[in-house]
Structures are given as structure tokens and as C-alpha cells.
Amino acid sequence: MPVEIDIDHVAKLARLDLTAEEKERLRAQLGLILEYAAKVGEAAAADVPPSAYAIPRANVLRPDEPVPSLSREEVLANAPELEADRFKVPPIAEVG
């Protein structure tokens, strides 16, 4: 059975504006892909540990040596909108 998903909720979580047509197509396609992907549930017994990486490494450290960082100009060079050497964004909260 294709999986039923709440497209509006997932799109909101993903901060992704979708057209009505895109939502319809994704609802159908994701339902089928998830039905296929759910096969993973058949394979793995409860006692199998998960692997986040094939070659796990822990506590990887490098020498703590100061090196030059990017300049302010370089960091800001790709910004869509700037104001006084800062990234400018639309309001993040309602005022008043």
C-alpha cells in the first residue's frame, strides 16, 4: 500500500513553498517511494545496532593553531542583501 503523507505539514517543516500541482505529484510519488523504502523494516532485527557511518571515527582532533580566517568582504560577497556590513533579512517576528 502506498504510504499516505500529510504533504502540507512536511512542506512546512522543510520550509518549502510548493504549488498545488507539485503537492499532488509529490503525494503520489512519495507514497510509492516510501512503500518501497519501508522494506527496510523487514530486514533488520531488533538486536542489529544502527550504523551512522561505515567507518566510524570518534574524537577526531586537529592541532589548535590559529590560522587566518576569511575576510569580512569575502564572507559577505555572496549575500543577497546587506546593510552596514551585515546580512539583512526580512522581519523575523511581528512587532507590536
Binding site: 527496510v40 550504523s51 586537529r62
Partner: protein, 490 residues
């Protein structure tokens, strides 16, 4: 007669050293080939001819002074997910259409320091998500072996460029097969090394636990030379590994006599084209003639690898691609508030496949579903790792087709994501287990399209996959030329 741009890097390096040619001549030969064919192939998103000429002149000076590594002066193309300082890097996406990185990725930084010549940035599926290059926001790449067919993906531009003589060699990235599958479809050598052997610093992330940089070359020896130039730990990538081999070409000529070769039985089921099957079978016969023992091997959980991959990769992608929010770089579509601006930016900037995977990953990681999907997929990854460990107790290397089919027609699978995903069914397990694998051309099918054969070895077994691939390459003597290139000489 082959032109300079059609030679291997190893041959060019000895000619350069002998003074028989110059990097400038080789570079001009590549640039002329790009001019001649790229309107039809569309391998490049950005060309850097002026920079290439400058770097070629500098390489010639170094070679003349006797101070040049073996990669010096050899022209290369880089997949457009690899960051290049001051050169636009788009990831094949509208959202990064005008993004100019302020730093170089480590693989290019190492090659640049060694005198490499950059020809340009190659087309790819958007954010490396795809198996046909049709997901690029800037149009598809056409396979030099049949211009109405796909080059494979996601590193389709790099594979096509090397096949068409537009670059001597190229770098791509391989998360689920994105180097090996296009190498297979374009008739070139594609190496995906052990996870972590090449630094990912500056590789724009798709699925961080699977992403690897890989090489496209016209010979196995060239793959060894290029790998030797870029492999090894990097303080900027905490997952990078120390290299265990100085020169990956050393020992490559030792042959396969006495080696135990396992043939992955799961990779010969339905869906494998007869032309692919027979080409691989005849290559296996040759391996046997050369003294290798050939027996059936099994990766019992291979059937689940594709399912696990299509949960793990989109989950990691949905998280990695959260950074494209219209604030610090890339596209911005205005909105009344920041949330609306972000959602509009992402809705306008990402293409259909990227949206599909972001949605898939967001769903798989969301409250209530995490354990059933992502959690289970991580357990399947453990089972795949164990499958390989078990198989490598009995075998030195494993062999399979690289992909079930040869190049398919542009548009043929565009509306069926699951059919498209099956293209990578034999390459994905190696990414989940982190093991090295190479694809080499094993012949042509009845339609004259290249077939790829995949050799896989245990973690850090690069020297072994290259040795087996090199022995087979010599024996098979694949020397067919894409019709597009053959047509130029006529």
C-alpha cells in the same frame, strides 16, 4: 591519429617530461575539442580557458625547471559541486546560480599546488541527485556514444568530458554511484575510493555519511596517479583518513593469478540487460584464463540496500540543504517575513528531484516516523557492512556489472523516479559499506553502447581494485572510440 586530448595522462606526462609536447599544446588541444563538441555534449557549465592557458604556461615553466609532479600540466575538469575559489560553483542548481566560493575544495587545492590545469566546471544533476544528468537546472548532458542518450549521473558532465576528449581526466563525486554509473555509461574508468580517503572539504554536501570524491580517467593507471595526487587526511575534514599507500600505481602490474574473485550473484537477476550480462561474463572468463579463481559470492542484504539508501541519503540531504535559506548566499525571493522569504526562495530555487528528496528526508526524520524509516535504514547499513565483511573472508575482490543497463534515452525514465533509482542498485551497497570500487569498460552492447564492470575490495583496498582492473583492462584492450569523436577525424 589520436590528438593530444585523446591520450592518457600517463602518456602525456612522459611526453611532457621528454619535451615532446608542452602543457600549452595539450591544453589548446582540449580547448579545441571543447569548442568542437560541447555544443552537442553540454558537459561544461563554465569554461575557464584564460585561466587554463595561464596555468599551462606556469606548468611548462615548472616542467622545464625539472620541478613538477606527475600531474603537472595535465588539463582537468571538475564537477560543479566542488568549490573553486573565485569560480562560480552552482551544483547544477538555480539556487546557487551566481554563487562564487571564497575557498577551494581540498582535492583541487592539492592539484592546483601540483600544477594542474583547470578547464572548467562540469554539468551534473542538481546537488548530485540523479542518475541521468537530466536533473541539472541548466539542461541535460548528452552521451558522446549516442547523443540522444544520457551520460548517467550525477557526475554526467565529468564522464562525458573525459569520454569525448574534452578533458584528459576529471573529478566527480559518488554518493550512491554517481562516479561509477556515468563512467560505465560513457565507457571510461570511474573510481570511488574508500569513504574518507579523499577529503570532502569544499565538496558541497549532499549526504555526508556517503559522499566521496572520485576520479574519471581513460585508464586505470591514470586513476591511480590522480588518486595518489589527492588522497589523504585533511585537518578540515574530520572524517578523512590517513592514506596507507604512497603510490597507488605501484604493484598494479602484478596480475590476478591466484586471486579469489567473487561474482555477486544478486547482481545477475532480472533487469540486467542481456548485452550487459554477456559482456561481464566474457570478462569473467578472461579473469579465469589469467589465473584468478572465480566463484559465486553473495551479499544477502543487497536487496535492501536501495531502500536504505533512499531513506539515509534524502534524510541527510534534507538536513544539509537547510542551509539554502536566502540569507548568506544564493538566490533570495522576497517575502513579508523571514519564514516566507525562506520558503519562497527554496520553492523557486530547487528543482523537482531535490524537492522530492528534501520532502522524503524531512518526512523520514519527522516525529513519529524516525524509528520506522531512518532508524531501520541505519540498521540495514550495518547488515550491508557485515555482508561485505563476510564476503571478503572468502574473496579478495567482488565483481558485478556497474549498472543493470547501458545508456538509456533522454526522457525515458524522467517520470518514474523508482525506475531511475534502480540504475544505482549495484553501486549503492559500496557507499553504504564505505568500500572502494572501480568501474571499467568491459565492451560494447549490441547497440554499440559501453558496458561497465565493477570491481570492489575491502576498506582501503584501492591498490587491489586497481590491480585487478588494470589486469582486466590490458586483457580486454577496450579501444573503441565514441562515434562523436571518430566523426571528427573523418
Amino acid at each position: 591519429m589520436a590528438e593530444l586530448c585523446d591520450l592518457t595522462a600517463a602518456d602525456l606526462a612522459s611526453k611532457l617530461r621528454a619535451g615532446e609536447t608542452s602543457s600549452t599544446e595539450v591544453t589548446e588541444s582540449c580547448l579545441a575539442r571543447v569548442e568542437a563538441v560541447d555544443e552537442r555534449v553540454r558537459a561544461f557549465l563554465a569554461r575557464t580557458p584564460e585561466l587554463a592557458r595561464e596555468r599551462a604556461a606556469a606548468a611548462d615553466a615548472r616542467i622545464a625547471a625539472g620541478d613538477a609532479p606527475s600531474t603537472a600540466g595535465i588539463p582537468i575538469a571538475l564537477k560543479d559541486v566542488l568549490s573553486t575559489k573565485d569560480i562560480t560553483t552552482t551544483c547544477g542548481s538555480k539556487i546557487l546560480e551566481s554563487y562564487v566560493p571564497p575557498f577551494d575544495c581540498t582535492p583541487w587545492a592539492r592539484l592546483a599546488a601540483a600544477g594542474s590545469v583547470l578547464l572548467g566546471k562540469t554539468n551534473c544533476d542538481e546537488f548530485a541527485m540523479g542518475s541521468s544528468n537530466e536533473n541539472s537546472a541548466f539542461g541535460p548532458v548528452h552521451n558522446p556514444w549516442g547523443l540522444d542518450t544520457v551520460p548517467g549521473g550525477s557526475s554526467g558532465g565529468s564522464a562525458a568530458a573525459v569520454a569525448a576528449g574534452e578533458a584528459v581526466w576529471a573529478l566527480g563525486t559518488d554518493t550512491g554511484g554517481s562516479v561509477r554509473q556515468p563512467a560505465s555509461l560513457c565507457g571510461v574508468v570511474g573510481l570511488k575510493p574508500t569513504y574518507g580517503l579523499i577529503s570532502r572539504y569544499g565538496l558541497i554536501a549532499f549526504a555526508s555519511s556517503l559522499d566521496t570524491v572520485g576520479t574519471f580517467t581513460r585508464s586505470v593507471r591514470d586513476a591511480a596517479i590522480l588518486l595518489s595526487a589527492i588522497a589523504g587526511s585533511d585537518p578540515m575534514d574530520a572524517t578523512s583518513l590517513d592514506r596507507t599507500v604512497d603510490d597507488y600505481a605501484e604493484g598494479m602490474d602484478e596480475g590476478v593469478s591466484g586471486l579469489r574473485v567473487g561474482v555477486v550473484k544478486e547482481a545477475f537477476g532480472e533487469g540486467v540487460q542481456p548485452g550487459v550480462r554477456s559482456s561481464i561474463q566474457s570478462a569473467l572468463d578472461r579473469l579465469s584464463d589469467m589465473g584468478a579463481s572465480i566463484e559465486e559470492a553473495s551479499l544477502p542484504h543487497a536487496d535492501y540496500a536501495l531502500s536504505a539508501y533512499y531513506l539515509i541519503a534524502p534524510s541527510e540531504a534534507s538536513s544539509n540543504l537547510a542551509r539554502y535559506d536566502g540569507v548568506r548566499y544564493g538566490l533570495r525571493v522576497p517575502g513579508r517575513d523571514s519564514i516566507e522569504m525562506m520558503a519562497r526562495t527554496r520553492g523557486a530555487g530547487f528543482g523537482p528531484e531535490v524537492k522530492r528528496r528534501i520532502m522524503l528526508g524531512t518526512y523520514a526524520l519527522s516525529a513519529g516516523y524516525y524509528e520506522a524509516y531512518y532508524g531501520q535504514a541505519q540498521k540495514v547499513r550495518t547488515l550491508i557492512i557485515r555482508d561485505y565483511e563476510k564476503a571478503f573472508e572468502s574473496f579478495d575482490v567482488l565483481v558485478s556489472p556497474t549498472s543493470p543497463t547501458t545508456a538509456f534515452r533522454i526522457g525515458e525514465r524522467a517520470d518514474d523516479p523508482l525506475a531511475m533509482y534502480l540504475s544505482d542498485v549495484f553501486t549503492i551497497p559500496a557507499n553504504l559499506a564505505g568500500v572502494p570500487a572501480v568501474s571499467i569498460p568491459s565492451g560494447l552492447d549490441e547497440a554499440g553502447l559501453p558496458v561497465g564492470l565493477q570491481v570492489t575490495a575491502p576498506v582501503l583496498g584501492e591498490a587491489l581494485v586497481l590491480r585487478v582492473a588494470h589486469a582486466l583492462e590490458r586483457e580486454l584492450a577496450f579501444d573503441a572510440v565514441p562515434p562523436l569523436v571518430a566523426g571528427l577525424a573523418a
